[in-house]
Symmetry: C2
Subunit: 281 residues, 2 copies
């Protein structure tokens, strides 16, 4: 199937609200659509008419969606130009339609869109959803993995989830984010070992490694803690700064009971806790 | 890491709202949580105090979440018993924290929960989100794949997406739905061929297959259309009923121009369109 040549391909599925009751909900649907890159909103017989100032206010500046809303007298007209339509519903229907989850539905919509098809998603009335004959106008059903004990999803929430899955279906990698983690490549071992040498020297000078026979195990533990974290070079610099700063307190200004080796506050917190836990074994 | 022995493991991550401004939003968060099986809602300094009748009304009967809300004076206290915390934010922060998408975050929360850890997700104020020092109390950041041109997500919508991804992370198969497609195993070929024989017999009796040299191609087309649909046995019964019903009109009550072979309304719509399209080639 191909879209008619005289209609430009839409940027995504049309969201179709059947007899929505509250302007606020229409506005929140528009906002959710805008969050995830959808722009075509169709209304079938909105109860309180159209335009709606309540809808515009609730859309929270998604004016481009509100301005482009189209209104229809009946559902058949609202889907007339579409090649494929999903109906959202929270309950099983006695018909032959395939039932999809939202992830699968998002991918199916993306694939159809890429094949030049025009698609849409139907959402029912706030109070009782879609009638069976309205579901009958759709090709397939999409339903959400809600807790069966609390399954009533607000139409704006339902529209949000489908808009979100639409957006996700277009990402090469669904773990992709709009901004990225800092470059946290672990530092080289040479850099890490430099920190060990510096820290262990500072601790040694304070008599931390006592009694002497325990030193090898204490060093092992300390290095294990600082290795497992996989610190990047900038983090090592922060740690070195912390150690350097602590280093200045002593020996001129010893803290605790004067036996620095017994004072866990001398160490970065994680290392201190780990060392202490080992001591308690 | 293990949760303390004296605290029972929670059923899912705690949702933590930092200085939420509107009771309606708190209620909508509670509803979204209930939709996807979460129950533990914590508030840090809600602006209009607690309890809130507006919150209860907006929760739309998610009373079990509202009744169990706990209120804290500061964020550190609100996360004190947790082993791992995500902060949600729409903008990049200048820190060392890993950034995840919601799918990845849902899976990470599930894995930690299964390992006995207690987890939480922070959501900021409606107007300006979380301060940097609040993000600093979290282990990692989660952000949503919103349209950068319209990235402001309502806190109830953000909480909905994380609750939804939490629920999904517990499904064996993310395409699983609460109710299933009808059993649409294609009918056996014997059943399908039975329909062909019945339909073709009825059409033959009306002189549909004219001119005679075209009959093999017409039969091929008709069978191709009825085969591609992959009809299940109950669907074949519906089709047989339709054909049988149409069959009664004629020859006593012919329709159209009296030449039944030229009247596409005689056939199920899809077959009629396909046959017509072929005729136009």
């Amino acid at each position: 199937m191909q879209a008619s040549n005289d209609i430009p391909p839409a940027a995504g599925p049309a969201i179709i609200l059947v007899e929505p009751q509250l302007g606020e909900n229409i506005g929140m649907v528009a906002r959710a659509m805008a969050n995830f890159g959808l722009a075509e909103l169709r209304l079938v017989n909105p109860r309180d008419g159209w335009p709606s100032e309540k809808a515009r206010a609730a859309a929270s500046r998604a004016d481009h969606v509100i301005d482009a809303v189209t209104v229809f007298d009946d559902l058949a007209s609202a889907v007339a130009d579409l090649n494929f339509v999903f109906a959202t519903t929270a309950r099983a229907r006695d018909n032959f339609k395939p039932v999809r989850g939202p992830v699968e539905a998002g991918r199916a919509l993306r694939a159809r869109q890429q094949a030049g098809q025009r698609t849409g998603i139907l959402f029912g009335r706030e109070r009782f959803g879609l009638y069976n004959d309205e579901v009958g106008l759709a090709d397939e059903i999409v339903t959400f993995p809600v807790d069966p004990a609390f399954s009533s999803l607000n139409i704006a929430q339902a529209a949000l989830l489908m808009s979100y899955e639409w957006m996700k279906s277009g990402l090469e990698d669904e773990t992709k984010t709009n901004f990225s983690s800092p470059d946290m490549m672990p530092a080289t071992k040479e850099q890490l070992h430099g920190l060990f040498a510096y820290l262990e020297g500072a601790l040694e000078a304070r008599g931390y490694f006592r009694p002497a026979p325990k030193k090898p195990k204490m060093v092992d533990n300390l290095r294990a803690v600082l290795t497992r974290a996989g610190f990047a070079e900038p983090e090592l610099k922060v740690l070195r700064g912390i150690i350097s700063s602590l280093d200045r307190f002593s020996p001129a200004m010893p803290r605790g009971d004067g036996s620095p080796g017994d004072d866990p506050r001398r160490l970065p917190a994680a290392a201190a806790r780990a060392a202490k836990a080992e001591d308690n074994d």
